[in-house]
């Protein structure tokens, strides 16, 4: 069981990293989601996989016997909810970004970088090229 989980995590991380390193923005986000699933599996496996018994104290007893560890399940649930929220946000962001930038290639996404026509050194001649980015009319 442990070996199966370990291999599953291995393949999930591999797939997630491969997708996350892609130039395609959509693949990149999906890759992060897959990596998130791998992180959840790690968290789940941290509670050990040996006992299938539910974490309920039998009536009459006051302590829990040999039951599964319930804490990692609570942690995984928290992480899933957070990961889901972030995935939703990133998909909406992606749609907006791909629509506005008219590209899904991360190499072409240089809008937050200095202008390509800005000869950073020596100082630009202030009169004949607008090196302010974003252009000044957009700042208003």
């Amino acid at each position: 069981m442990t070996a199966v989980i370990a291999l599953t995590i291995f393949f999930t991380v591999t797939a997630g990293l491969y997708l996350a390193l892609s130039r395609d923005l959509f693949r990149c986000v999906i890759g992060l989601a897959v990596l998130g699933a791998a992180a959840n599996l790690v968290l789940f496996a941290a509670g050990r996989l040996d006992s299938p018994l539910p974490a309920v104290v039998p009536s009459g007893d006051s302590i829990l016997g040999d039951a599964a560890n319930p804490l990692p399940q609570a942690l995984v649930l928290t992480a899933i909810v957070i990961g889901f929220a972030l995935l939703c946000f990133s998909l909406v962001l992606l749609l907006r970004l791909m629509r506005d930038a008219r590209t899904d290639d991360s190499v072409a996404l240089r809008h937050a970088e200095p202008r390509p026509d800005d000869p950073v050194k020596p100082p630009a001649n202030a009169t004949d090229c607008d090196v302010t980015w974003p252009p000044r009319e957009e700042q208003k």
């Binding site: 996350a20 923005l25 990149c28 986000v29 992060l32 990596l35 998130g36 791998a38 992180a39 959840n40 790690v42 968290l43 496996a45 941290a46 509670g47 050990r48 804490l71 990692p72 942690l75 928290t78 992480a79 957070i82 929220a85 972030l86 946000f89 990133s90 962001l93 992606l94 907006r96 970004l97 506005d100 930038a101 996404l109 240089r110 809008h111 937050a112 970088e113 200095p114 950073v120 050194k121 100082p123 630009a124 202030a126 009169t127 090196v131 302010t132 980015w133 974003p134 000044r136 957009e138 700042q139």
Partner: protein
């Protein structure tokens, strides 16, 4: 007492709810937001007094005993950082009322700002590793909202880069937390600290390295700082100042808490690596800053550079080093936020952040020129400003431990920082404006901006003239660590 311990989270979260409910009535929303941040400030002051009187506020939720319940514990370090968080929140919300690059007035702007404050406050208060992860996520999602709020193409681009690189850090953090729980069976800082000594050294080193890498991504240190200069400059000025002051410092605080407190003494190889990472961080940050001409980009690279100094203090792994870390962090947050705010005022008066397109400000606004010099020279470390004391105690300890290489790098970086600050001052204030027809704009509303920046500069000067109380506080805080 136990009511006060939750205020760093509860007060900003309540403000989030109130400002969201009133988002159709801007005046009321503004008033509630200010009231919320002032209440936060008052609670933070009370928490610092409690911590300084050796009665730190602490509670375990649900009245579960220590290793099981999630614990909040505001010792001297946590309480002082919560106080500085509240101060920064107040300064940037005040600055938001001016017209110096405040960005568009979106109804969700104020709720998201308070959401960031709640996340930062929670991260400084918690004594539980998984809970710390949750506060990092709260910070991340609110910060993403603030990045994307403007909706400009460069902002969306920056949001995406910030999202991808920070999400990788968060996932690594989650995996490391899971692995540490698997190895020790604990998440509470106190219980982890007790369990850490029983861990096999090799396992402890690997797990600690994974956890620290995640925090270093959040802190913006070499070689994982690429998200910071790629995104920060697209933010509106007050938000930028808030982020620059607080977000990376939460990562640094987490590093200090983990290696200086919970897992102290950390394995030697980790501290050695951290020291070299710190040296590389400060050097590459300042070199990046030297290349640029946009004030926001220059200052964003200086965040990276200064993170290096703070990490160096952590890497010294001694009581004096930990005290220096706290002192440096508190001084740095004030100075850094102030620099960004003053840059925004320069933008309002001259019309550009690009140093090549502005100038001549000293003749018309000499007070602004002097005001800029206070945080700028403090960042460099010119005596007697606060940055001098901060660097002095870090480098004294580095020399005392025989770390000559790190000291040499730190001193060289100070000279390069001076170059950067002098560059901004000469270009923005001293040289004549390249556009001969340029005039000061007449319809500015800079009153709140002056109030915020003068207030922060007054704080810096107070620390500069009388560093003794803060130094004593930091040393007392460091004595409580690791025990």
């Amino acid at each position: 007492m136990s009511a006060l311990v939750v205020t760093p989270v509860l007060v900003p979260l309540a403000t989030v709810v109130l400002t969201t409910l009133t988002n159709r009535r801007p005046a009321l929303q503004q008033a509630l937001s200010l009231a919320g941040v002032l209440a936060f400030l008052a609670c933070a002051v009370a928490l610092v007094f409690l911590a300084a009187a050796d009665q730190p506020a602490r509670t375990a939720f649900g009245s579960w005993v220590a290793p099981y319940g999630i614990e909040f514990h505001l010792d001297r370090i946590g309480a002082s950082l919560v106080l500085i968080t509240a101060l920064m929140g107040t300064a940037s919300l005040l600055f938001l009322a001016s017209d110096a690059d405040p960005g568009p007035r979106h109804p969700l702007l104020l709720p998201l700002v308070h959401g960031v404050l709640a996340g930062v406050g929670g991260a400084f208060s918690t004594a539980d590793l998984f809970n710390l992860y949750v506060w990092f996520e709260v910070m991340l999602i609110c910060a993403l909202g603030l990045f994307a709020l403007g909706g400009r193409l460069d902002q969306l681009d920056a949001t995406f880069k910030y999202l991808v690189l920070n999400l990788l850090g968060t996932l690594l953090l989650l995996i490391a937390v899971g692995a540490i729980y698997g190895a020790t069976g604990h998440l509470n800082f106190g219980a982890l600290s007790a369990a850490a000594s029983g861990m096999p050294p090799a396992l402890a080193t690997v797990l600690l390295a994974a956890l620290l890498l995640a925090f270093l991504i959040k802190a913006g240190s070499f070689p994982v700082y690429a998200w910071l200069p790629a995104s920060y400059h697209t933010l509106p000025a007050p938000i930028l100042a808030l982020f620059a002051g607080l977000l990376t410092k939460v990562g640094v605080y987490a590093v200090l808490r983990i290696v200086g407190d919970v897992f102290a003494p950390a394995p030697g190889i980790i501290m050695e690596a951290l020291g070299w990472i710190a040296a590389a961080t400060m050097m590459l940050g300042v070199l990046g800053a030297a290349y640029h001409w946009d004030m926001r980009r220059i200052l964003a690279f200086h965040i990276v550079s200064q993170i290096g100094y703070i990490l160096l203090a952590v890497a010294l792994a001694s009581e004096a080093g930990n005290a220096a870390t706290l002192f440096y962090t508190l001084h740095h947050i004030i100075v850094k936020a102030n620099l960004f705010l003053i840059a925004a005022m320069i933008w309002r008066l001259t019309g550009s952040y690009d140093l090549r397109r502005i100038g001549g400000l000293y003749k018309l606004r000499p007070l602004l020129g002097v005001l800029f010099l206070v945080p700028a020279l403090s960042l460099v470390g010119i005596p007697p400003l606060s940055g001098f004391w901060a660097k002095l105690i870090v480098l004294q300890e580095a020399l005392a431990q025989g770390r000559y290489a790190w000291t040499a790098v730190a001193l060289a970086v100070s000279v390069l920082t001076l170059y950067s600050m002098v560059k901004i001052w000469m270009q923005a204030f001293w040289k004549t404006h390249p556009d001969t027809k340029w005039q000061l704009p007449s319809n500015t509303r800079l009153g709140p901006a002056w109030a915020a920046t003068l207030g922060l500069a007054a704080l810096t000067l107070t620390i500069s003239i009388n560093p003794e109380p803060l130094l004593d506080y930091a040393q007392a805080a460091a004595r409580m660590l690791g025990g």
